[in-house]
């Protein structure tokens, strides 16, 4: 890292830390129904939404009704997108006349965007119409993000309330999240992105003449699409001359803003945030990273305020920050070393395969750790082409369960499950009934926390295991050897943890990955979410136990350290064998020169 990279990293984290408090306080006010600066403008809209939908905003729900409403709204969300993808050729705003999605791909994509995963087994520019991108994918980016935030707010209420069964009104939390938080931020962010060169239009694709014509070889095919052969049995090759290129257009900025802000990550184009039209300058790059972290980081403060002790929030924030910065350091080291196979040939400048020049290696790495630590999954570099230790970092961050900031809402509720476990383990050590935030942690809370933490991990290991003994799945790997295993492991880790990034060499648009992946995304999203709502209900019903001399203080550095250890131990115990066979073996073969 040169001095500029240090400065860039330092400024970035300083700005992030400065924003945590204002954003977090604002969100706490919104969810507690207090007036804010935007209320005069938005309160009438909010009330109109409730009137049309027949929602009484003062009527709260118990956790079962809250979970039911969440699941029902998400089911509707899924059905609408599924139908839209299957019928996109019949709908307007399709200037390229793109055909409908095949049903398996449509199913995978609809589940993917409903669960805030945004795993994409298709290329946006050649598969999805403007109408699909706007009325389908952009809408899902908003609603799935607001759903995650609603769940964590209900859980926080569970900690904050005493002797009640009520955890809030899902419809109110959903509407407020979208109207007061996501929409205003996305609007400003989209315009800032356009100023940098992110496109925003409804024009048809532009065809331009190339300055220098180029050519490529293509196998000749007959009418049925089969390759043709010459008399000696060689495939017939024809040379195609290319004199013009077609540049795709579209309403990109409006989707780009919410894609980062809602930790969704589904790109308008196949290259995602590496595409110059999605991420044109170093400033837009850092701005997008900031957008990804803004709400997850702010929510830690929202949590602190709502439970009445902001230090509780800062403690979790510091644990997340520590893990993020450590991951960045290791990735930075690995990528600036470059590929040892190339350095002795006289190639210098680190590993640039799958990276863009304008971001620099340090900027690219900051994006890579951020997008995998949160459940965003947008990419500004091709993770498949990272060095083995470099690739281990995003994979590990996903496998830890998306808790290092994590998805909007989902990151914090999973982190709170870890905190409950950390408190419980330390309680065992000193032989006391564990308490967290004045609530006794009992058998039910432990069960629900364990379910939340282990669901994704168990699924990753089982499904990756199934894939490695399935010939169809093996033929999807783009790279041979240990790296192929990393691709499959990363794919299921990404889907089960609702991240959505990929070791993209893996050909995931097959029935096997589309269908099993859809299952992984569904279970990985809703089992933990419902478990945490159940915990919200259970906690809300408990009485407050004032801290005594034997209570572990959970707002101080020793607890932060202890929590970090628990996270790392759980992660290592679950995944070390799989990681040893993938990236670690690959690293050893690479340095061994095999």
């Amino acid at each position: 890292m040169n001095v500029y990279d240090w400065l860039q990293t330092f400024y970035f984290f300083t700005i992030l830390l400065l924003l945590v408090k204002p954003v977090g306080s604002y969100m706490a006010k919104i969810y507690q129904g207090e007036r804010t600066l935007l209320s005069p403008l938005l309160a009438p809209c909010e009330n109109l939404v409730y009137r049309i939908c027949g929602v009484n905003k003062d009527e709260e729900m118990d956790w079962q009704r809250y979970a039911g409403a969440m699941l029902l709204s998400n089911l509707m969300l899924f059905v609408s997108l599924f139908a839209l993808l299957l019928g996109q050729h019949l709908l307007p705003l399709n200037p390229q006349h793109l055909p409908p999605f095949p049903w398996e791909l449509a199913l995978n994509t609809a589940i993917s965007f409903t669960t805030n995963t945004n795993w994409q087994a298709y290329s946006g520019e050649s598969t999805a119409s403007y109408f699909t991108q706007m009325a389908g994918l952009t809408v899902h980016n908003f609603v799935s993000a607001a759903t995650g935030m609603a769940v964590v707010i209900a859980l926080i209420r569970g900690f904050a309330r005493r002797r009640t069964t009520l955890v809030g009104n899902f419809w109110v939390d959903l509407s407020r999240g979208i109207l007061y938080i996501l929409l205003p931020l996305a609007l400003i962010a989209a315009l800032i992105l356009v100023s940098q060169g992110v496109i925003q239009n409804f024009s048809p694709y532009k065809t331009v003449p190339l300055i220098q014509a180029t050519s490529f070889n293509k196998a000749q095919v007959d009418e049925t699409g089969k390759p043709r052969w010459d008399a000696t049995g060689k495939p017939l090759i024809e040379t195609m001359i290319v004199e013009e290129a077609t540049i795709p257009m579209g309403p990109v900025a409006s989707q780009e803003a919410i894609k980062e802000l809602g930790t969704n990550g589904g790109g308008f184009f196949n290259a995602n945030s590496a595409h110059p039209f999605e991420n044109p300058t170093p400033f837009s790059h850092l701005f997008e990273i900031l957008l990804i972290l803004l709400i997850p980081a702010g929510l830690t403060h929202t949590f602190g305020r709502m439970v009445g002790n902001t230090r509780q929030g800062w403690t979790l924030m510091m644990v997340m920050l520590l893990l993020l910065v450590t991951a960045f350091g290791i990735l930075q080291w690995a990528e600036t070393q470059g590929n040892p196979q190339f350095t002795h040939l006289g190639i210098e400048g680190g590993n640039m395969e799958g990276k863009e020049v304008r971001f620099g290696i340090a900027g690219t790495n900051l994006f890579t750790v951020t997008t995998t630590a949160t459940s965003c999954g947008a990419v500004a570099a091709m993770h498949d082409s990272l060095t083995p230790i470099g690739g281990l970092i995003p994979l590990s961050l996903i496998l830890l369960g998306e808790i290092v900031f994590g998805g909007v809402g989902s990151g914090l509720y999973t982190m709170l499950a870890f905190a409950v476990i950390a408190v419980f383990v330390s309680g065992l050590m000193i032989g006391r009934t564990p308490e967290y935030l004045g609530k006794k942690i009992e058998v039910q809370e432990m069960w629900l926390s364990i379910i939340t933490i282990l669901t994704a991990g168990v699924m990753v290991l089982i499904l990756s295991g199934v894939a490695t003994i399935t010939p169809v799945a093996l033929s999807s790997m783009a790279n041979p050897g240990a790296h192929g295993l990393s691709e499959v492991l990363y794919g299921f880790a990404s889907m089960a943890n609702n991240n959505g990034s990929a070791f993209a060499g893996l050909n995931a648009n097959t029935s096997f990955f589309n269908l099993l992946g859809a299952l992984a995304m569904l279970i990985g999203r809703y089992v933990p979410a419902v478990a945490m709502l159940a915990m919200a209900g259970s906690l809300a019903g408990k009485k407050y136990v004032p801290p005594s001399l034997g209570t572990l203080p959970t707002d101080q550095a020793p607890f932060a350290f202890w929590l970090t250890l628990v996270i790392l131990i759980v992660g290592a115990l679950t995944f070390f064998p799989a990681l040893a066979l993938g990236p670690i073996v690959e690293h050893l073969t690479l340095v061994g020169g095999q």
Binding site: G54, S175, L183, S203, P209, F277, E348, G349, G354, M382
Partner: protein, 205 residues
């Protein structure tokens, strides 16, 4: 099931708000405030014809042009309809072979000594419009030779398109390949025109 009505109507309302009104407002404001950026930072020639985008790279292989990074886009290099990287893993034998072939190609074109990684490794988007200053520096001698210009002239054209770190510390310094090549092409046209007019003057005299 009292929840069905809000579930259905909220979906419709938010589809309207987030999928219709929001992108429409962004488009309107973007077209008013930043029309050039919102429409793809397109470059036009004197007659107003669109000849490319400042943000989307194009393929170049003639020795007289600045060469861009390798591109792994589908069908042909720098195909804007198929953005993406190679996704080659660092131990993939086919990939290791490809990179050393690219290196041999550069050596054959007269490039000695250490080579900047971005000149032999493909970008993430496959459309990267930039190369690093050191990757451009390696090509000065070749371009000058091919165009019959002095190295100082080529160097001046390249450095005039050097983009520094944004704000002094963000990203990396870089050179826009398409912008350099448009100017290099104009350079040659001027040289030819000058030559012809000189010949004409000699003939008149």
């Amino acid at each position: 099931m009292k929840a069905i009505r809000p579930a259905l109507l909220m979906l419709l309302l938010f589809t309207l708000i987030c999928g219709g009104i929001y992108p429409a407002i962004v488009t309107g404001l973007a077209q008013i405030c930043f029309p050039s950026q919102a429409n793809g930072s397109l470059l036009t020639n004197q007659s107003g014809q669109v000849i490319g985008s400042a943000l989307i790279g194009q393929p170049f292989s003639d020795p007289g042009y600045l060469w861009p990074r390798p591109s792994a886009t589908g069908d042909f290099a720098y195909n804007p309809l198929a953005s993406g990287g190679s996704n080659a893993g660092p131990t993939n034998p086919a990939y290791l072979r490809t990179v050393s072939e690219r290196l041999q190609g550069l050596r054959a074109a007269g490039i000695q000594g250490p080579v900047a990684a971005d000149l032999v490794q493909a970008s993430a988007s496959g459309l990267d419009p930039h190369i690093s200053p050191s990757a451009a520096g390696l090509q000065v001698a070749r371009i000058a030779r091919a165009r019959g210009l002095s190295e100082a002239q080529v160097f001046r054209v390249i450095t005039s398109h050097l983009e520094e770190r944004q704000g002094g510390f963000m990203g990396a310094p870089r050179i826009n390949v398409l912008a350099v090549n448009l100017e290099l092409r104009a350079c040659q046209q001027i040289t030819w025109t000058k030559l012809r007019s000189n010949l004409g003057q000699i003939w008149l005299w």
